[in-house]
């Protein structure tokens, strides 16, 4: 065996990247690109706000009380989601189910309030076509609501998986990833709320 | 070499733009010939005629890497040179706002150009303004300032002989200027896709000597304004 071959170390160093579970890696990569979807919208909104010297006249018509209430609902739902994962880690099936169900219900509550909000705004004559602020308002909250629906669907699937008594190892991982997504959707709202309701 | 293909430059900043084009041409031309030459030379000289062993080298020692990194550094330096030459020409054409007596409003719409001249009161935006379709008359050797507006979609005012190109965006008034250095008639093209008539959205710019221009002004703008106000 010649010297040339062994110029390169043959045995590999330890490789930490490989120890990350693929699912976790994937969900983070996915969320990174999701962040940019909302990032693009939010940047555009902020730039327009500068260009128009603020949207406060329009923003006065959104019901910040509903927004604040919904923020509370979502923050609570993030907490129940965390509790669900903790219960799964403790192999407590009943509590896992309960917290997942709570999260789903809170999500539905959010959407219910949102629907009510939309309809009352439309009754007052504010539609997506009522100008720049309303374009952004409906566009961003609408896209967020779609993400909420996806999150609710994911949590329902998790709930079914828990009920079907799939192995804990598997469930824990799934609940963790589902939770990451749920928190992401929550965080998006935390950004949208002050931008749209408190300007 | 490029000059033969580019239309004659007849604006004050045209030469500066061309200068940058040539600068880029010579710099990248040199490296292009060098890389292409080496590629062909190495490829042909390494052709395997009889079984021959390649020279084992991985290019991972600093000495070997220098063969690549040093030229790369040179390129970085030349890049910055291109940037700074480009910056000066750009500032001249796009950021400078030389004082001018002639202001013309340009309105682009599907699919023609409207040039609005101030009437006898010398002010744009008043009732005596005169609109000329598709034909821009300007005096030789005078700074002309344009305000570009669009009624519908994005167009782009492109006067190859002036080296002047500027998109015309609905919702904003974009300034532009030029100073022509040679009398004659030159073409205006639209260089942003704006619909089915994009290909024929042609205009002309007529550069006239001072006298010819005044005469044209009198006949077409001042007179036209008078007659229209008289008719009211």
């Amino acid at each position: 065996m010649g010297a040339g071959v062994e110029r390169i170390p043959v045995v590999a160093e330890t490789d930490h990247l490989r120890e990350i579970p693929p699912g976790k890696m994937a969900i983070w990569v996915f969320l990174a690109s999701e962040i940019l979807v909302f990032g693009g919208l939010i940047t555009a909104f902020v730039l327009y706000q500068f260009a128009h010297g603020g949207f406060s006249a329009d923003a006065a018509h959104v019901k910040w009380r509903f927004g604040a209430f919904n923020t509370l609902v979502l923050v609570t739902s993030s907490m129940t989601m965390i509790r669900a994962l903790a219960s799964a880690r403790a192999n407590d099936r009943a509590r896992t189910q309960m917290f997942l169900l709570l999260t789903v219900l809170l999500g539905c509550a959010f959407l219910g309030v949102k629907t009510f909000e939309y309809s009352s705004e439309m009754r007052e004559g504010f539609y997506p076509s009522s100008g720049m602020f309303w374009s952004f308002y409906f566009g961003m909250t609408g896209l967020h609501a779609l993400h909420m629906m996806a999150g609710i669907a994911i949590n329902l699937m998790l709930l079914i998986a828990v009920t079907r008594e799939l192995p804990w190892e598997f469930l824990r991982r799934r609940i963790e990833y589902g939770g990451l997504y749920w928190h992401f959707v929550d965080v998006v709202w935390i950004f949208l709320f002050p931008l749209l309701y408190l300007t | 070499m490029l000059a033969g293909w580019m239309p004659q430059s007849v604006s004050t900043f045209g030469g500066k733009i061309d200068h940058v084009v040539y600068l880029v041409f010579y710099i990248v031309g040199f490296f292009f010939l060098l890389t292409e030459g080496l590629l062909i030379y190495f490829a042909l000289s390494s052709r395997r005629k009889r079984p021959r062993r390649a020279h084992y080298n991985r290019g991972d020692t600093p000495r070997e890497a220098a063969w690549i990194l040093v030229p790369a550094l040179v390129i970085l330096g030349l890049d910055l040179g291109i940037d700074s030459a480009g910056h000066r020409a750009w500032e001249l054409e796009k950021s400078a706002r030389p004082a001018s007596a002639i202001e013309i409003k340009v309105v682009a719409k599907q699919f023609n150009w409207e040039f609005t001249y101030a009437g006898p009161d010398g002010k744009l935006g008043t009732a005596d303004d005169v609109v000329v379709e598709n034909e821009l008359h300007v005096p030789l050797g005078k700074v002309v300032r344009l305000s570009l507006n669009s009624e519908d979609v994005i167009h782009s005012l492109w006067i190859p002989n002036f080296r002047l190109k500027q998109d015309v965006v609905p919702g904003r008034a974009i300034p532009a200027w030029f100073e022509a250095t040679k009398a004659g008639t030159y073409e205006i093209a639209c260089s942003e896709l704006c619909g089915f008539g994009h290909y024929s959205m042609r205009g002309t710019v007529v550069v006239q000597t001072e006298q010819d221009y005044s005469k044209w002004m009198n006949d077409n703008v001042l007179h036209a304004a008078n007659s229209s106000s008289a008719g009211q």
Binding site: P21, V29, G139, P167 | G195
Partner: protein, 570 residues
């Protein structure tokens, strides 16, 4: 997602035909489906190019095999050509096809990290392609606002007269982004997490590096465009006013969002093409890649820089002129990492021992052509000279000289090179060489004249140039380009025949016909479902060719080191 349990290695034998070849989750089958789909779309893309070229050369005649076309139809065909070629040929060919096939094999994995997500990616892409094709039959015709869909032309249907067609275009693009989002997540996860023992990051074949860089760049740039696509659709259908100046919106916002994605996108296409050339070159030069690490770091640098150059498409768009110089600096700076990659490729050939096979010719020819595209990018990157060049045929020639070499020459190099692995047979070499030489000269014959047309000042997307006196002399250049383009289409016919003939009748290929080092060549041709019968172990870098003191001039990555030199062959 199959995070939990992997099926038994031999389970595949029980799969029926449908599960195995149609709704397969095997990355190799999905890769072939992607290749097939992109080939079908390439026919559409190529045919539209033919219509464009004929119209430009002989505008007063009707296009044989199509009929006379009007200016609105011309715009629609150019739009379809650009969209199809970039999103439905280049990406599925280089990423969906080669990326899918090779990443798991090269890193030593049994399949992608998420095989079902991978299958979903393909089916979404198929749906996207179908929607795009359907849009061509929309009542007012397909989208006609260019592949860049500048607003408000694309926003308010009255400006083009296209209603449904543009909506379907948006939908097709959005689906395509979805498909490659799924694909990209898979690429990155597979290449980072499923590497075989010993396959460190710095032992990854460069193709894998380029694919994952491309995937990362794609994933991090597409978000804003997805947002923009939604906004555009809302503008068109719900009356919002994001890009509508008449209602307070701003058309330049679209340009920013589009190019924030659009520029990185061109490297998403370019990097995999380069990756293929980088795999092919050392094998036929029998020499290690010169400066592997420099190439890796340069690739990452290209990826990073690609996010801060987008406004070079917008120098004269009416944005703040003070932004031009910063963007010009970043843009032209990309020439540095690219120069390193290119010089490293050239240095790899220095004192090598080259066999000019068809794949090698395509790789070298691709690099040689790309150089023209690369250096002409500098004319556009300079804010001052772009005032002249922007929106002219110079841009058209520039981007064909970058996109075509990476998709066509790079893709063909890959196809001839990995064909034996994919189909177990070898393609005919002689016809391959004929294919190369004709394609090479004819391609240059098409686009060199178009540079001159651009320097002459002719704008792009022009249905016919006779309205302008100054451009009329350029007509003969258009004729030359068209004659060569028609030749270019014709030489693809023997290629297609060769392709299908070789699948059935080609010379049966061994495991490692090119004596190559990377892991895919240690498997049968074609490899079985779930790839590696025994998990591979990697001991060294991927390009150890012509190592001194060995009898053989190649040294596979998985060959244990303790074996005496004389029996190094396998």
């Amino acid at each position: 997602m199959n995070v939990a349990i992997k099926p038994h290695p031999h389970a595949s034998h029980e799969l029926g035909f449908i599960r195995r070849y149609i709704f397969s989750t095997d990355h190799k089958v999905i890769a072939k489906q992607y290749l097939g789909l992109s080939a079908v779309m390439a026919i559409i893309g190529g045919f539209s190019a033919y219509i464009i070229r004929w119209q430009l050369a002989w505008p007063e005649t009707s296009v044989p095999g199509w009929g006379p076309i009007g200016p609105d139809q011309y715009n629609a065909i150019v739009t379809m050509h650009g969209t199809v070629m970039v999103f439905f040929v280049a990406m599925p060919f280089l990423l969906g096809g080669f990326g899918n096939y090779l990443i798991p094999l090269m890193v030593g994995a049994d399949d992608m990290a998420f095989p079902r997500l991978n299958a979903m990616s393909f089916w979404t892409q198929l749906l996207a392609s179908s929607v795009l094709i359907a849009s061509m039959f929309a009542p007012e015709g397909p989208a006609a606002s260019g592949w860049t869909a500048y607003t408000p032309l694309s926003d308010n249907p009255v400006y083009t007269g296209v209603y449904l067609g543009q909506d379907l275009w948006i939908l097709a693009s959005a689906l395509e982004f979805g498909a490659f989002l799924m694909g990209g997540v898979n690429f990155i996860t597979t290449a980072l997490n499923l590497r075989a023992p010993g396959m460190t990051l710095m032992r990854l074949p460069l193709f894998v590096w380029m694919e994952i860089t491309a995937a990362v760049v794609f994933l991090l740039s597409v978000g804003p465009l997805i947002a923009a696509a939604i906004m555009l659709l809302l503008d068109r259908r719900l009356g919002t006013s994001f890009f509508r100046p008449d209602k307070g919106g701003d058309p330049l916002l679209w340009e920013h969002l589009f190019w924030f994605f659009g520029h990185p996108e061109v490297y998403v296409v370019a990097l995999p093409g380069f990756g293929i050339m980088l795999e092919v070159m050392p094998v036929f030069a029998r020499k290690p890649i010169f400066g592997y690490k420099m190439i890796v770091y340069s690739t990452i640098a290209v990826g990073l820089l690609s996010f801060v150059v987008w406004a070079h498409h917008m120098f004269v768009s009416g944005m703040d002129p003070r932004l031009a110089t910063p963007f010009s600096i970043t843009t032209i700076m990309i020439s540095v990492p690219f120069a390193i990659i290119v010089f490293a490729m050239i240095a790899t050939l220095w004192r090598s021992s080259i066999r000019f096979t068809a794949p090698m010719l395509f790789a070298i020819g691709g690099l040689a052509s790309f150089l023209i595209g690369g250096v002409t990018g500098i004319f556009l990157g300079s804010q001052a000279s772009d005032i002249y060049m922007h929106g002219t045929y110079f841009v058209v020639a520039h981007f064909h000289y970058t996109m075509f070499p990476v998709t066509f020459f790079g893709g063909m190099a890959g196809l001839y090179f990995w064909f034996p692995k994919m189909f177990g047979r070898t393609m005919n070499e002689t016809w391959g060489k004929i294919h190369f030489w004709f394609s090479f000269f004819l391609f240059n014959g098409v686009f060199i004249p178009l540079f001159l047309v651009g320097i002459g000042g002719q704008p792009r997307r022009i249905y016919e140039l006779s309205s302008y006196d100054m451009f009329k002399p350029l007509q003969s250049l258009h004729v030359i380009a068209t004659v060569c383009a028609i030749g270019l289409f014709l030489v693809q016919i023997p290629f297609v025949v060769n392709l299908f003939y070789s699948m059935v009748h080609g010379k049966v290929a061994e495991k490692n016909p090119w004596h190559s080092n990377t892991l895919e060549w240690t498997l049968d041709s074609p490899p079985h479902h779930l790839n590696f019968p025994t998990p591979p172990r990697v001991y060294r870098d991927p390009y150890e060719y012509s190592v001194p003191d060995l009898t053989e001039d190649w040294l596979p990555q998985d060959q244990p080191p303790a074996i005496p030199a004389t029996s190094a062959a396998r």
